[in-house]
Each structure stands twice: as structure tokens, then as C-alpha cells.
């Protein structure tokens, strides 16, 4: 992820940055990753004329081409208007603290779900999201998150879904 994007976002003051060159660059880079992956695959197979690499090459080339088109549009001053949704207005200025708090909530499971299990992870994620949305009743959120996580764990385990033990680290 290019380092300048959150800043450009905030600097735009609601509307996205006027010239997000990095966006076109990112699409081209993703296309190149596909082409690099296709490089090691056979493009043609004897029986079919089409090997497992051809489609990858096509998709990679498509992304590179589209990235270039996007860059051209950006050069011509293409406007990017943030979407309006039910609880958010695209024209509002982005609150990066709230964004990063919510992002932390999404990253928590990567660090904890294997060792500490679903209920504990749910408790942390729930509290962080609630905070990102302006809740300051942290103790109540921690308790609500723990109850919700435990109930959800119980429900899904009863349904036959494998989601690990209650608190793996403690062996429960």
C-alpha cells in the first residue's frame, strides 16, 4: 500500500485526492504480479492449445491495460466521488483516527484468533469497532463483546461449524 494514501485522502477534505496516481500504479502493479505468476506456467498444452498460463496472462495484461487507462483518466482530471451509504456521507471529511481504530479491530483476529479463540477475539474486535463509532462506554462494550462472542461461539459450534476451542491457550 503506498504510504501517501491516507494523507491524500484527508487532504482531500471529504472528496478524494484530485490526482490519485497511486491508484493507477497499484492496478498496474497487480497486473504485473499476475504476469509474473503466469511467467512460470505453460501457456499452451499439446492437447488443447490452451495451457493453465494463458488465462493468467490475459487477466494480468488486462489489469495492466486498465491501470494505464485509469492513469490517462486521472491525467485528464477524472473525478472520484466517495460513495454515499446509509450511515455515512461521501462528502464528509474522513476521520482517520476512527478509520485506524476500526482497522485495528479487523487486524486483531490475525493476532489472536488461533491462540486465544473466537470469544476473546470477538470481545476485543467488538470493543474497538464500538470505539471507532464513538462509544466511550468501554467497560460495557468489553462485557457485551465477550457475551456476544461466547454466544456466537456456542451457536456456531452447535451448528457443527469448526471454529476452534473456547480459549485455546488455556486448553478450554
Amino acid at each position: 500500500m503506498p504510504s501517501n494514501w491516507p494523507q491524500s485522502d484527508t487532504a482531500g477534505g471529504g472528496a478524494a485526492a484530485p490526482r490519485p496516481w497511486w491508484l493507477g500504479g497499484l492496478v498496474i502493479a497487480l497486473g504485473c504480479v499476475c504476469l509474473y505468476g503466469a511467467f512460470s506456467l505453460p501457456q499452451a498444452a499439446r492437447y488443447a492449445g490452451v495451457g493453465p498460463g494463458l488465462f493468467v496472462t490475459l487477466v494480468g495484461s488486462g489489469l495492466v491495460l486498465l491501470g494505464l487507462l485509469l492513469l490517462m483518466q486521472i491525467a485528464h482530471g477524472e473525478k472520484f466521488v466517495p460513495q454515499d451509504t446509509e450511515d455515512a456521507s461521501g462528502s464528509d471529511k474522513a476521520d482517520m483516527t476512527a478509520f485506524l481504530t476500526a482497522l485495528a479491530a479487523a487486524i486483531v483476529p490475525v493476532l489472536t484468533i488461533e491462540a486465544l479463540g473466537v470469544p476473546f477475539t470477538a470481545m476485543l474486535s467488538f470493543t474497538l469497532v464500538a470505539r471507532a463509532f464513538g462509544s466511550r462506554k468501554t467497560v460495557i462494550d468489553v462485557i457485551t463483546g465477550a457475551i456476544l462472542g461466547s454466544l456466537a461461539w456456542l451457536l456456531f459450534t452447535q451448528l457443527g461449524l469448526q471454529i476452534g476451542s473456547f480459549l485455546p491457550l488455556a486448553g478450554i
Binding site: 488465462f55 451509504t85 478509520f99 481504530t101 484468533i113 474486535s125 471507532a132 457485551t144 457443527g160 469448526q162
Partner: protein, 495 residues
Amino acid sequence: METFSLLLQGFEVALQPINLFWALVGSVLGTAIGILPGIGPALTIALLLPVTISVAPTSAFIMFAGVLYGAMYGGSTTSILINTPGEAGSMMTALEGNKMARAGRGASALATAAIGSFVAGTIATLALTFAAPAIAEIAFYFRPADYFALTVLAFTSMAVVMGASRVRGFISLFLGLALGLIGIDQMTGQARLTFGVPGLFDGMELAVVLVSLFAVGEILYVASRYRKNSSEIIPIRGQIWMSREDWKRSWKPWLRGASLGFPIGALPGGGSEIPTMLSYTLERKLTKHPEEFGKGAIEGVAGPEAANNAAAAGILIPLLTLGLPTSATAAVLLAAFQNYGLQPGPFLFSSNPQLVWGLIASLYVGNAMLLVLNLPLVGIWVRLLSIPAPQLYGGILVFATIGIWGVANSLVDVIAMVIIGVAGYVMRVYDFPIAPVLIGLILGPMAEQQLRTALAAGQGNPIMLVSTPLSVIFLAIAALFLLAPLLLRRLRANA
């Protein structure tokens, strides 16, 4: 006649107590998520996918159909009572419906929306009952080249119609196609785009991508631009549901809305936005009370609501008969079929008549159930809106995480959730449509397989791709989709 007896058998399946129970669960859940912000039918079905482990396929699809229809009913309630359309299809309803509610006619608006949804849903289900087997018959004759051309048509129409810009629509589509390529190639067994990560050998699950884009992406976006909804719920206590005059002014828009919604919903890229807008425009033109439009005209609620529900039934046509999803919700339904090892398409009608006809019959049952659930109980439903946003979105992330972790207990999936979630945020900020990613992901492998089978039949000669009349027609329409906006612009410039 055969259709009738098959439908009757379908009712035997749908009316079994266990299936009625699942239809009720689906309808209740659907209505609830239609009312709640931040969660739509596609995400709900994706989160419910784990139940496919323990529930029989027929029951699961009956529940999913309830979610799909229920979300439409729920969406209209919030549009009318607090002017927040939960999804694109309810935007037109909010326009007139909320004005009606403000003028003390909220109950009439809710009633015409619910009864109109019921009428249109039933008409569309009738159309589905008769059209689906006929289309499935035709699809029997499809060759790989035809299927490939059809997927190209679906891709093009989806990328062009959805979103503000064609380039961004296609970028979304190609991102989905690229994600669909990750994993072991089905035809040769070679690993592709896995870069040595064993967790990627099984490929990217649609549920993981969908939940990340719709739940995590949405939470990040709304958190960064959260605006507390201050709109009050307009009370409707003591009002009459529908007067004689209301009935008189509603029935024609219901029928017109249904006839617009169903065929457009069945087209790739048709969705519910276009038919509801067309229906609104049409009713505005035909009305005897043009002065009321913009101030709360009942026709402006009746028509679009009917069109919205009919379009929801329309998406089932290409899905059931051709295995072709035309919206995010249809894509996740296709994933559910695949979970059971079933492939929707013409063969499903002969190999699994119980499931197909049970599902179609349950749409009639679900519609009736939703009418009963929604009108008298509307007061209970709107109470859901009192769940505060911080806790609501917190809960959505908890269920999203469990949904993703439950797919395969894989940390790679959880890492993908963060990366794709951030991508979902960026897509919302820079206005990229999201549905094409899912269509590319689920249809990409299908398109590739048909391409390779078609080419193998002709020893690699690309002329095979245009060797049948149907494939030529599909590809020509796809080209038209791509070029029409350019041509129109040229014509306008010359005019």
C-alpha cells in the same frame, strides 16, 4: 400441465413443517437485515453459508430465498418511515413514501409497498415458474463456446452498467478474475498465483472475499465518515392502511412495476435500480395526479416497490437455468449451490427437481409469510433501529470474523480479510463498483473452463469461439454494450 404437477410437488416440499420453519427463519432474518443499516442480503447469506454443513439443501435454499425477499420488504419500511433506503432498489420508494409518511399517510405507503411487493413477487414467481423450465430446455443445447460467450456478455454488461465509470467497472471485474485464478488449476493440477503459500492452494473462497468487501470494507468506510442518523421514525399509529382510493390508484402501478422488474432483473447487469427508476418515471408520466409527485404520490411507491420485488425474482432465472449469477446475492447463492456439490443450470431441473420446485414453491409461501410478518408487525420491526450504531457495527465485525474463520480455520483467510477489507474501503472512497469483483471471482473459473473446452474441441483454433450462431449473438451484444456509450457520445457530439 407438467409444470403444474411439478409445482404441486414443489408445494408438498415447501409446506413440510421443517421447510416452513426455515422459510420463517429466512423471512424474519431478511426483514431484519433489510431494516438494519450496514448489512444486506448478499452478506447475510454469505454469513449463513456455514449452516449448509448441517441443513439439507432444500431447506437451506428456502431460507436463503426468504432472506432475499425479506430484505426487499425491510428496505421499504426504512425508506418510508425514516427516509433511509437500505439498498439501491428502495431509493425511489423513499422519494415519495417518506413524503407520504410526513403527510400522515405512512400506513398507506407501507401497505401499498407491502401488498405491491406481494402482488409483484407472486406474478414474478409465476413468470419464473413457467419461464425457467423453458429456458432450461434451450440451455440444454448450449455448447462450451456458447457458455463462454454468455459469460463474456455477463462480464461486459456488469462492468458497464454498474458504477460510475466503465474503466473502474472493468478493474473491479478483473480483480475478481485474478482472485478466481488463485489456487490449483482444475484441469492440469498446477498451482497458480499461490507464490508458494500452501493456504492459497484451495483458492479464494467467495464467502471470504464477499464478507471482507461487504462487511469489513463497509465498517472501515462508515467508521471513517460516520454520520449519526438523526431522522426520527415517523409514527403511524391509528392510521388506516389502504382507502378505496388508494387501492384504485395502486393496482395498475403494481402490475406495471412487476412487468418492468421481472425481465430487467433477469438480464445480466439489470439489477433492481434500473427497473425501479423506470417504473417511477413511467408512473409519473401516466398519473392523473401529477401535482402530487414529489409531495407523496402513492403511485410513486406502488410501482417501484413492485418492480423491486419482481426484479429479485428475476435474478433467479439466469441463476437456476444457466448457472449465471447477475448480482452479488446471486453470486453467493451460486456459491451455496457449489457447497452442496450442485451446479445450477439445465441439468439441475432434471437431477434435482425436488430442490428446484421446492424453492420455487417456497417463494409463493415466503411472499405470503412476509406480508403477514410485515404489515401488522411493522411497529416491532422499526424497534430494531434503536440498536446503537457502535454496537451494531461491532456485532457485524464479530459475525464476519467468525464467518471467515469458520470457512477453513485458516489464518491466510483472516489475513485476506484485512487486505480485501482495506481494498473494499479504497473502492468505496474512489467509487469502484463492488459486485463485479464477486461476479469475476465466481464466473471467472467457469469462463476459463468453457474457453479451454471449446478450444480443445477445435485443437486450439480460436475460430471455435464463434462457431455457433448463439456465441456470435452473445459476443455481438457484449461488443454493443462496450461500444454503445462511445457511439452515443459521438452521435450526440455530431447532433
